[in-house]
Subunit: 306 residues, 4 copies
Amino acid sequence: MPEDFLELARKVNNWGRWGDDDEIGTLNLITADVVRQAATCVRRGEAFPLAVPLSLDGPQTGAVPGRINPLRTMVAINEPLTGDPTQFCSSDDVVVMGLQAGTHWDSLAHVSYDGRLYNGFPPASVSAAGAARCGIDKVRSLVSRGVLLDVARAKGLERLEPGYPLTATDLDAAEEQARVTVGAGDVVLLRTGQMQLLHEGRKWDYTYPSPGPSTMTVQWFRDRDVAAVATDTLTYEVCPFERDDVILPVHLLHLVEMGMTQGQNFDLEALAADCAADGVYEVFLEATPEPFVGGLGTPVNPVAIK
Amino acid sequence: MPEDFLELARKVNNWGRWGDDDEIGTLNLITADVVRQAATCVRRGEAFPLAVPLSLDGPQTGAVPGRINPLRTMVAINEPLTGDPTQFCSSDDVVVMGLQAGTHWDSLAHVSYDGRLYNGFPPASVSAAGAARCGIDKVRSLVSRGVLLDVARAKGLERLEPGYPLTATDLDAAEEQARVTVGAGDVVLLRTGQMQLLHEGRKWDYTYPSPGPSTMTVQWFRDRDVAAVATDTLTYEVCPFERDDVILPVHLLHLVEMGMTQGQNFDLEALAADCAADGVYEVFLEATPEPFVGGLGTPVNPVAIK
Amino acid sequence: MPEDFLELARKVNNWGRWGDDDEIGTLNLITADVVRQAATCVRRGEAFPLAVPLSLDGPQTGAVPGRINPLRTMVAINEPLTGDPTQFCSSDDVVVMGLQAGTHWDSLAHVSYDGRLYNGFPPASVSAAGAARCGIDKVRSLVSRGVLLDVARAKGLERLEPGYPLTATDLDAAEEQARVTVGAGDVVLLRTGQMQLLHEGRKWDYTYPSPGPSTMTVQWFRDRDVAAVATDTLTYEVCPFERDDVILPVHLLHLVEMGMTQGQNFDLEALAADCAADGVYEVFLEATPEPFVGGLGTPVNPVAIK
Amino acid sequence: MPEDFLELARKVNNWGRWGDDDEIGTLNLITADVVRQAATCVRRGEAFPLAVPLSLDGPQTGAVPGRINPLRTMVAINEPLTGDPTQFCSSDDVVVMGLQAGTHWDSLAHVSYDGRLYNGFPPASVSAAGAARCGIDKVRSLVSRGVLLDVARAKGLERLEPGYPLTATDLDAAEEQARVTVGAGDVVLLRTGQMQLLHEGRKWDYTYPSPGPSTMTVQWFRDRDVAAVATDTLTYEVCPFERDDVILPVHLLHLVEMGMTQGQNFDLEALAADCAADGVYEVFLEATPEPFVGGLGTPVNPVAIK
């Protein structure tokens, strides 16, 4: 790895900060105080679900092998339990899907490099049985203040240019527009507007190229001690990547070095329109993972409540 | 169907109450006011996730064909994207599971009888493609006040007898103990203590026989206009059923006649211990479905925040 | 349906021919005599497997929703049964796949039209439980003489033009080239050469447009009383379809009217090269379905032995 | 490992016998001559399929985690392609199943011990991507003479005692009864009668305890140079195991040391009845794997033709 990358890695590293056995990283920053304070963001009682629909028409294109869109099939259709249709009839379904196929959180175990997994756990702790360390089930709940940083709108754009790498200045501008100060334990909802492409049915354009966080924004999130960051893109970070000598650097810095949970394919369009209308960019966010034992990720339907 | 059942069905029926096109039933009772008021239940900032772990060790025994416990498998284990393990390596997984296998909400389309689906929609609206009407994706969000009715504790028991049918008197007693008044839009978390059997590894005992709501409690929920009811059992209602001439009567009355969403396999043990300790039985409940298009049900990790 | 189609349907119809309860149609033509005679085709003892590889790289493109390519994942990797790796360690896998995704036979229940299923069974005999009638499990075994009709080669082509509809004259020419007389109980392996596109990695070109049997060849197969026909294409019949007023007419005539089992995605390239080299176009063919109870189709690895 | 086991391992070892790159072991013994000769076993033209039905009612009990019985679900039921039901309507299905759940072949990569995989390949050649070495797709076809060794009948029993370990003497007796000489390239179908328990619906009894090959029969198969052995049991070898200090010794000796493919859950009842009736115990056996790329095993519907 190049030296400048390693230097940044050292600067933002959180290993040991919450003990040698810690498996959830920056989510530790969500204290009871943070949650209690977050609840005061509920002013009108309106809820905004942020997940994209779960179906075969999901955002996956096959580019990531095995990360299949949800295939939901029926195991019973109005099946009369006793054979008599005037009595109880039921319809049941099953699903097969990539846990990272739709709107999801990555677990900290999702990524490693050079023998490094968050907090120094060995990559080999991930096996056919899943993640023995840092699995998504270790995140018991995920409730906090959410802050929408609408970078696109702050730049006066409907959506950012595909391939645009966010800068710390972009985050400052969005924060200023939001009239909130991002702080410890906050979950940042980072809007690029890329989700509009998925809404328009331009699935391939949605997936690539894509704007997103870059090595220029990593320190910002570390300085503010945010608990998690989610984007409205497939890849999370800017793509194509910023340089040839490090692949997916933001994944490595956020997940491995900082131990910061990241979310992808968050649909922030309706929420952003509402925030632009009332000028309030902070929400009560509930986005607790499904408790997949050893899961490398989890589908989630995050709900922002204003 | 016997006449006394039909009479009760008529009494609690909600068809047309929210319009002929309504697909979510009593969830309409959760107004913005209800949500705003519910948020005031966040006092300490502590979150209680209520889902049972998602794994092959889940509560299903095979008794309901096709409702399989989650099988999560790996599609990549520390796979180096470029072939170079000093660079980005990722681990991904997929899952196959019954949508009603673990802690879940039934959609209103889950059950029909005698050609009746909630609000008069034809049962044939459920097809191989899923539920065209009343699918779980129609429930955009599910956030409200949750009230724990700890019937077991109110009766001075660790857990109710297997097969015990709850009565309206039991609910009154639990409500009194909780020192809250259950009202319109509330989500009732109904604790029987049956979940202890699953904790103890007695999976088969957990599934059957089981205490639960009965035809004697249906009117109570209708009178209070609750939005949803969830239990800490597999079958939701008392099992064996109360009578031979109607199978799963509570399912029919709640889902089909009232249009009331029901939850199963909610783990209420830790929450109940906390409520007993501090005497506070109301919570801010966030239990939004995963947006499975046409889904007959959904896994959910409900979070109760106090 | 247009009158000329219906007239052809009446001419080739086999309903009732093998009794009102028959569920396997022309496979009845494979008598013990046919099998015994077929075995004499084994001259050199060389076996040609005809299936395409089963993997995520299979021929499906997503155009048929739910017909997903095989996703095979590991449930154990060198897992020591006792915890001690010097003892027994095992690796196991699971698969999820469309039964019609790769090289497969359609069951006769796969297709219906206008309330018609083979032999007059009601289409409603197919339900969430699968095919109660004409399921693939009703085909106990499928062993017979296979005859390669290499239409492409008989026309002096590497492969037929995409979209080319085969004619009876084409079949006559291929039969003459093969120096065999196709007769009762034979399985015809119909080579168009389209499979070369899949070999070349041109998956989308492989799927569409495609040459194949047409309404001009239906009578020919009926006259010869063949037991089954398989092609080296995705759609089986010529595509785009021959006319606008009947969709997939060959499917309807073969499966519904004749009750003739059809195979798709058979890789006939190596076999065809061998047949061209030695001039022998008849083989002992073993292509028994996997016994999926109620299955609408089945993956199969047909083996041609010369 | 105990010394007597290691000595037997050395005696039967086949590593290097077919080259250092060989991945199919004793299947190399099936020469064209063997196949040609096997075809002469087709005398009456009758086919006996040997697979157990593929459905949720399959033989798996959950004892082997992840080896799930086939769950086949519908993705379309009489779905009109154009929306017009007088035109083409189709029904499609998908399946999820353990590749070793029903009647199956193990690939040679299925088992390792003490860092040993067949032919000295590293166990690490099995990864999340499957078996890079000795995967089931390396077995291009599996056609040979099958010989039924009906040990139960040779001992005058309906079925062997559960837990009975076969001896070389048992095999000799069955061979004598069969009036054939088992030789190089033959596939031995080893009948214990245990399958009767599955037929009777006694699934748990079927799975355990179970008779089967033991360390006393390994040398016999090696001496005869058989190509493969299949049993009518779940575990293949005798269970409980013969001794405490080696787990599943026959798996280790057959798969790892000899490189001999093994089959499980073969239903030999109908075939055995026929062989007893006509006194002919040799068949033409076609049991080619489905070509799962990197597969650790494969479902198979073996067909014995007499």
